[in-house]
Symmetry: C2
Subunit: 140 residues, 2 copies
């Protein structure tokens, strides 16, 4: 029940990119220098953020990553699910998983888990990258 390093690194990386400016690019190397995290690891996370359409990239010299969506459109939900996969509050909700208990056919708990899951998702959807940037700057 937590945000792993994948999610937290992704948030920090996006903040860096957003702060750099609207159309400028930022290399993984530079992000990792200021954030003090592993470059090879963040590279993998960046690919996932790209696949979900949050960022774009340019290769080669003067290349790097840039925001493809506006900070006010990027939610914490988008960021975290991009790098950590879908938020399933319970494995029971994951249809791809083998059904692992004898009640799975018609389980009353599934409805409860489902509602809880949506409620948690909503919380993360209500926080945008723009708000996080605001929080960062609006302090002593």
């Amino acid at each position: 029940m937590n945000i792993s390093t994948r999610g937290r690194y992704a948030i920090r990386a996006l903040i860096e990119i957003a702060e750099k400016g609207e159309k400028s690019v930022l290399t993984v190397k530079k992000i990792c220098e200021s954030q003090d995290i592993s470059t090879t690891y963040l590279e993998h996370l960046m690919v996932k953020l790209k696949k979900s359409g949050i960022i774009g990239s340019h290769r080669g010299t003067k290349g790097g990553f840039f925001l493809k969506m506006k900070p006010e459109e990027i939610t914490l939900f988008d960021i975290i699910t991009s790098v950590e996969g879908p938020v399933f509050l319970s494995k029971c909700l994951k249809t791809s998983d083998k059904i692992d208990c004898k009640f799975s056919k018609d389980c009353y708990l599934r409805g409860i888990y489902s509602r809880l899951s949506r409620a948690v998702e909503d919380i993360f959807k209500q926080v945008t990258l723009e708000q996080i940037l605001g929080e960062k700057n609006g302090r002593g």
Copy 2:
């Protein structure tokens, strides 16, 4: 970001106990027979539920576990934190952990994580064992 088997088993076990009746006891063995889960594993979870005051126990023949709180007083938050530990949405909030990043001293993200964490907690606090029992019985 999910409820593990610890939490799910605990919920099921408490439902069984609650359904048995107010002052009757139920053995781990019987719970596991009807729920089809490992007895030795559930025993450990029961100890945790006991430590948090949700259930009580009697040893020996005719012993077993019983509800110590009323179903309407037991929340999903109580159950899950009992067996899975406190809900820290981010390790950053966990003061017992070694501070693992260079920003930890004065981090603007901590406030955000903290608010999110409380919001998620509230969701789990709003669901009681009584409601779950109602959901179970109020269906075809």
